[in-house]
Symmetry: D3
Subunit: 338 residues, 6 copies
């Protein structure tokens, strides 16, 4: 029977300029909806899971459209709270070659910022749930969201529901000290932590920037090992990315189970839409783990899911399992499937 | 030499669903910019006036796009203040036949709400100005906007610059009592007031809904005469509209100069885009008055401008003088202009 | 608590030329999905009902897209059977003025034609159902569809679930004699029959073309009364339409409860998309009856729903209850809803 | 066997703003090709005739696209001359309601202006031809075009091929005196003249503006009778149009055979695209006459063809015979053709 | 004088999702027409050949649109049979990077499946023909298509018209044994065979997958030599492709004339649209051979034609001879042609 | 205070096929405006300069649209002369991979060809100007344009305004001898010359094609040194480009100050739109020099500006200073800017 997975967070209206035109050229915006946890929810629904998404959305047509967008791909939205002021927005201009993509956020005061813990019926939502996933973006949205996340994680842990957390630190949303204070509580004892909080006696805990510091696998193992000890996280996971340009990257991923650091295959690929790739990675890993896979297979699947996401327009990884398995199986030749 | 006209207010990002599709059907939005006073500014620039628009816009690409949109049609934006949080947004779904158009506002906390009076260099902006136009929407946006409007109107009156005010009461933006308290100060001694505040001993001052109450020309004359006496407004002006459907209307207009109530020709027309029609009316009247026209000619021009606006997509009345004169001259046959 | 309503039939891929361009001009088609009963299902889901749709769709991406399209608007598709060859298609060119809309069908051998009665789990689907709706199109699709419809209607009647049938006779799909033979069994004892089968001793039973024959209300009452007696239908219902042009119609509707013939208000309106208007009518009536309305109120609601549908692009009537109530309440002025 | 009809003239690149947006709003143009005689040629090919079009087009991709556009609808372009400078262009902004459509011409120095009479192989082109049609636009394009037209008409008359001429006087293209001088020679002895040249002793010959002068049928008969006598034209034909607005017209038509003035049915209709309607009229008449119809039937067919053209986007009347016959038969109800 | 070439096969409606969006994201499809032999026909017409295409299409607007699409590019469609049920369809989603393109076929029961040999007037069609080209797809469409192909090939051979056959084996269309049985008769004594049937004593005749088996030039020569002997084919030809990804390939080609195996230049290129590339190759070879080129030059031209096709959207290779010659001449720098 | 820069030249309507479709596939054109000097003017306005553009445009809506397009990005158009016949046009088909982009010019007889020197008010335009930029395209447009350019350059030199000239030789516009005769006068004593005129005793002065001749840096230094001596140009500048394909290039640039030849960094990049890249280079250099930068920094900035332009659709380099500085700073990783 399909696993039941709960995710919780904000879903935003994404307004993208056509093609890769610049903001100042746009006379229209493509309008879809996305957000870190919603992206995970859609992937899991697409994989046939019973996927529930929790959020708060205004009781107007824009809020309804966000719900409809999730329903399209099979996400259960029965527990979405309606009310508040507005749907958060992010404007996106997709880059190409040496020109990076740009995001302009207009997400303050969105409905989820007003959410009260009591508005969520945890007993119903978490009934028979097999997994709970959330990200570090939600607590960055304000005091009420911190309370919501803390309550939800506490509830899930109490019920013995496995929890995964994608740290997803964004320095435009909050400062690091506040981030760390909130997140160290949340990632305590979870099953999967995407990203890490470094334990540096001089700098304090920090999300290190390895790409720039040239950390090698040995370095990763040390840091992940420290994560494991401090927070009792079952798996520490990360992607490793080479940014050649806005449209050409390479990547692999790492997982640490407390003993072994395993690195996935590495892929070289061009990019159609990079947003949501990290969520496709997280969703791929959760999908495999909740269905009993070995953590190495799960990492390979997650990495292929992430790579494939870059070829799909929008926030969602609208690929099916056989397509991802073809990638892990080594078929990246792109021959026409007739 | 071209007259210099200053307008001040908010310009919003308008996100319209394609064709007349519903919000829940939209996968893209047409993106333009508009707002009551900005619409007036564009019309006047299009007529060859030196047209200055005052507002505050965020220092990001969306704010820049709003400025660019105004510059396209020749509006001078040198005095636009940059800063604050966001560009206000309104979502628009255009109706047809028995289905009305719908607006969803998402305009709270826009940059203009943060404006400080000191951010505007009134001396430069109003130097040699021939007219100042504003609407009742701006003071509805918050305390700082009230201060801005009061300061600006006071400055203009002191300098002897003619002032026009479009009352533009919107019950979603503020309640009537507050509206009246603010606006009676502003319309005192102005040259043109679009709309009126009724002096009803029982109901207090009120914007009457004549269409529903069946007020006749005699009734209008009484009310406008009272307006004239209480506020010393030179001209009281209004449009009269028959709403047959979302796509079929008829309209004429009234002007009162303290002595005579003059009614314009009446037009029957179908509608492409109704938003901004009232602004096209106001702009047409201001254009003619500032250039020395008789008030009756000005009203006919304003009415034709308003009617013609309904045929133009977007907030702006992008018509040229000869096109409007053709309408006032009675040519509404729509024969191809080769 | 929301009523549970089951509908069953074919959903087709609708390929419409852009704007109102002709087939031979099209370089692209707008692609949505629709079908008589699916249209009813979407309307009911949109009204907040628990709406289940039964059909068979191929196990490919086109079949999945049809399901996704239904899910977008909240229809439950858990009981849709997957398999068979193809999604049926209809090509649509929308007319205007004196030029009619044109439909080219390419629906033969679609998956539902292969459906086996055993593929449907009737016990689960009809559990706690409050209504069952179907149309005369489904049995026209072939022998297996006839068996399916007969089985489903029999099952519903046995369980005491109210049944509505939209006769929807299409002479391109089957000949009249076969139609009558099948349908007289199905409409026996149902609660609502949309359309009628005439009992003419000379011509045999026939769906009369009243518009051309100038039948008056008295005539309708006679025919409906005969329907009532022969088939024990609770309500006989029909729309009455004046086709002025492809884009301008007027309509009202009739309902007969065995005693009284009630005629709804009549509306004059222009047309954006006519397809699915009859389904919006049926859905409106079912919605009101299943929720306990008086049959006259139900007819008024159904008529307004039908009229409003003509303003919405696509097969579905994506309007909400308050919008329909505004029409029945007499507000067809189309004033902007800000 | 299908009749062979030769037409000759200029085909232009038509650049239309999207929807009914104004020139100053356009960020793209719809790009098709059209021209008075080309429009006639396409209609006749669409009706199954062997339709040949003669023109000169540059030997570049824009010229090739014009040829391809004609071939799409079955026009034979084997005798099109390649060379010269450019494809003439007209920019079109489609009006609506009280706002007229606007055309900006950029057609000077197009390839056909450079045509040499010797470049056309008249013997091959006119071999077994059943009709020759041209318009008064071509000789307006310059001296070489006048020579071409005179040569072609002379050739056709000599071979006994029936000739039809659409006067199509455009005051932006040439002045009236020159027009008359050229055209009186051309229309001498032709079979059909669309429009007329008035024989007014005071004003000289002139194309009268009857719509404004209130000429009645008696007046038309007088003028046409004079046409007949002076030029020995077999049929004088014209359309009569009521321009209510850019999107709402009514029309009928007149034909005079030297004895009787026959008026067609009158139609009331809305307009999608007015350009080419006169050519649809001419083409309809030629089609019927060349295939042996009675002139009254031909006029009814031509009128219906013209009315129907207004519902089709672009210059061409892409309707088939049964659709036109439905209109002449009185079915303008626009009911969906399933 | 231009050579006359006849091709015969199915032309399908191709419905492509916009950009490279996935099927489940599409709200519209780009609509063009294509098919293996039709693609060859268009290329040859574009090269100035007298190009005739034989097929059967339904007598509705979709069938007409397919004909019009061919006529646009100059293909003669006078011998296309009208009738039958439907135009076959293929849905296409274009991949990118590691994500392959996907095709969903909906082509069963198309009109050509109903074709009767007598519906084709072979004497007229093949009169003065210089070449006949067909592919292995057509006989896969059913018994009547096998008869048609056999009859046509027999007729051509009898008349001494050179024949080329593109084996084009598709395992979704038929099983290999049936394929071989039919095709060995057809390729007997033809001038060109694209692809080969392997003569492997263990596996029986088979289309080998060389890319996966690492066959070298020596291996190809052996197989082609065996083809030559068994079937008396004048030239055996194939492309050799390196699939790096859906958007990046390299390729060259081989031709064997019974004595020498010649390999073309190899090209590295990115891909806009891969469909029809094989047909562009075949068409290029036929074009050169029918016009008397050396087989090596023909192969170079064919290879360049194939490479260039990958840069053109749609099934057709809409390139002109000079563009292909530039590629064979070594200019692949893509400098702007002003 | 912002520097005032004057540019002068032709602005054309650019009609581009959608995506990278071929001319013969286009049913619409994207419509923007551009031209060598206009592109420079827009870049400088975008950088915050007071940027004036001089040209002549017809007094119709197409001319107005060109002006509006410039105003959008802040260019001052107050001195644009209105009149003449038409806006010049260029049709653009964007290539990809081995297929080059193609331009079809239709620019003859545009308004600027009719310009009279007296129509420009040089005293006003050049008042307080800090720089004057022009290109070799303008004098190629005809005798009046030569007079205009000579007069303007003479005026600027007399007033001590620095002048830059982009030679921009186009062999479709004029022959080399005439080019050289005109340009050697113009580039005498200017501050910057983009490109060079070679002093070859055998071939006469010539614009050499170094890419093909394999000239090394030593060779460049010799030629530039000779330029310096003959024409007293302060800086000789050029880009060096490796054309791998239509969508993949590499480039660096050279500057010579009379003593030292400095080469910029080299970049490898993919291409969205190549048109206007040279103008982005020129504009970048002028921007830095007019604001007092060192010539080496100016060259690095110009090169990065040029590279970045290739990622922007349209003729204009709509990038801001910080984006260009990021490139010169070595960040070409294209990471998302959130």
């Amino acid at each position: 029977m399909a696993k039941k997975i709960v995710t919780m967070g904000e879903i935003l209206l994404r307004l993208t300029t056509p093609g890769n035109s610049r903001f100042v050229q746009a006379r229209s915006f493509d309008a879809i909806y996305g957000g870190s946890e919603a992206n995970v929810a859609v992937f899991l629904a697409n994989m046939g899971m019973e996927s529930y998404f929790l959020t708060k959305l205004p009781d107007n047509e824009i809020g309804q459209s966000a719900i409809n967008f999730l329903r399209t791909y099979g996400v259960n939205t029965d527990y979405v709270v309606r009310g508040g002021e507005r749907v958060g927005i992010y404007f996106l201009e997709k880059g190409t070659s040496v020109r990076p993509s740009k995001v302009v956020y207009d997400r303050k005061n969105s409905s989820i910022c007003d959410i009260e813990v009591e508005e969520i019926d945890f007993d119903s939502v978490f009934k028979d749930a097999d997994w709970f996933h959330l990200s570090g973006i939600t607590p960055a949205l304000g005091e009420k969201c911190i309370q919501l996340v803390e309550k939800a994680v506490e509830y899930a842990k109490k019920k013995g529901i496995p929890v995964s957390v994608d740290l997803n630190y964004r320095n435009k949303l909050w400062d690091y000290a506040e981030f760390e204070k909130v997140m160290v509580k949340i990632i305590k004892d979870v099953d999967v932590c995407f990203g890490w909080i470094d334990d540096d006696s001089e700098k304090g805990h920090k999300i290190a920037d390895f790409a720039k510091q040239g950390v090698d696998l040995k370095g990763f193992k040390d840091i992940f090992s420290s994560m494991k000890k401090r927070f009792n996280v079952k798996y520490v996971v990360t992607t490793l990315r080479d940014n050649y340009s806005a449209t050409h990257n390479a990547m692999s991923a790492l997982i640490y189970n407390g003993e072994e650091l395993y690195q996935s295959k590495k892929y070289d690929f061009t990019i159609q839409d990079r947003v949501g790739a990290g969520d496709a990675f997280a969703a791929g890993l959760v999908y495999k783990l909740v269905n009993g896979s070995d953590y190495k297979d799960a990492l390979e699947f997650a990495t292929a899911s992430c790579v494939l996401k870059h070829t799909v327009e929008g926030d969602f990884n609208l690929c099916i399992e056989s397509e991802i398995m073809a990638i892990t199986g080594g078929n990246t030749s792109g021959s026409v499937q007739r």
